[in-house]
Amino acid sequence: MSIYMRVIFIICYVVLAPFLGGFLEGLDRKISARMQGRVGPPVLQPFYDVQKLLNKQVIAVSRAQTFLLMTYMLLMIFTGAMFFAGSDILMCFFILATAATFLYFAAMITSSPYSTIGAQRELIQMMAYEPAVLLTCVGFYLSAKTFNVSDIAASPLSHILYMPGFFFAFVFIMTIKMRKSPFDTATSHHMHQELVKGLTTEMGARNLAFFQIAEWYENIFLLGVVALFIINNNPWSILAAVLVILAVYFVEILIDNTSARFRWDQMLKITWLVTLLSAGVNLLILMLIS
């Protein structure tokens, strides 16, 4: 990939990802409402929410929170930019983990019991999904003999053919990363639960807006990784990737609306079991045939 292409991809990601992410979240809320037999908010509702949050009075328990959340957002943008520029996928996920640490500190620093519990659960969530994420990187290496995203995307065959088990495990942990229902232990997205808003309880006004925008960047990055499973050197595979992304997103919404929340220990067990069985067995087979 030429340097110009890389720059164009980075600019596209930085500019378009929040709009795309917000739009997908709007679709998510609309489809969720329809599944529950409601009319639902307009598709642009997430943008209205963020716009309002930016206009509210800033009450922060700790001034450092804004700095930590800004760092979280910038690292998240950096992760996605590196990924879409076609560089090392392993490095992308390491930076993503660093970003998550800043989010943890932003929640911890307020010392509110709700956000502290939310932050601790966020750490447990990281522990649950990290093995699957790392194994996915290893799977891409075994399948494509490189960690470079641009080289992985330029292979003659779609990688999902070699690594269906990894794909399943990755989509499974995306439920955690997207904070969807069976695994929304860190931030309950419904009111009046034991956590109030968990991780985001002490984030108000523009801090919550930063958090929201960072989530959109993250979702687009994760969906980009899903696309990496499908894309090969045939341009038509991009269309297939988009269809797979939409299907995965729909499945996540369906899971969100049909399941009750797990306890953290149940989450850890089931995630590691799926990772071991599906990605682990796939890994053994890949190592044997290569």
Binding site: D49, Q51, K56, I59
Partner: protein
Amino acid sequence: MGKVARSPWLLHYDGSSCNGCDIEVLACLTPVYDAERFGIMNTGDPLQADIFLITGGVNTQNKDVVKQIYDQMPRPKVVVAVGVCACTGGVFKECYNILGGADSVIPVDIYVPGCAARPQAIIDGIVKAVALFQERSDEHDAKVKAEKKGGR
């Protein structure tokens, strides 16, 4: 500056209500009335709330709680008293522990009468509150702008 009226987030607090009004408030969020089509979300967090929905009268034990919740909400904010108890104290007005309606401790903007207030009346009250929220937000923006100019 911005149109904030499209995204009013509610905080619902039960003063000393008999739960009649609370059930009607929750009914507003069900498929029949679906308040979310106006962007209304029921949040449990004062820091993220725009409209404070209070049901039931204020008593000697929860007056500090009500005050604190009101203070924790960032400006611009609107208070809606739902049900006759939150408006005036209702049938409990003369009780030894009841101070009166919600307006005995915090400034109330919109009164929604009824025992219990019907969902239609509550949504009507919230729609009025949303208009007021937009007005206050514009005032708030003008104030922030003036402060910024004065500071420089």
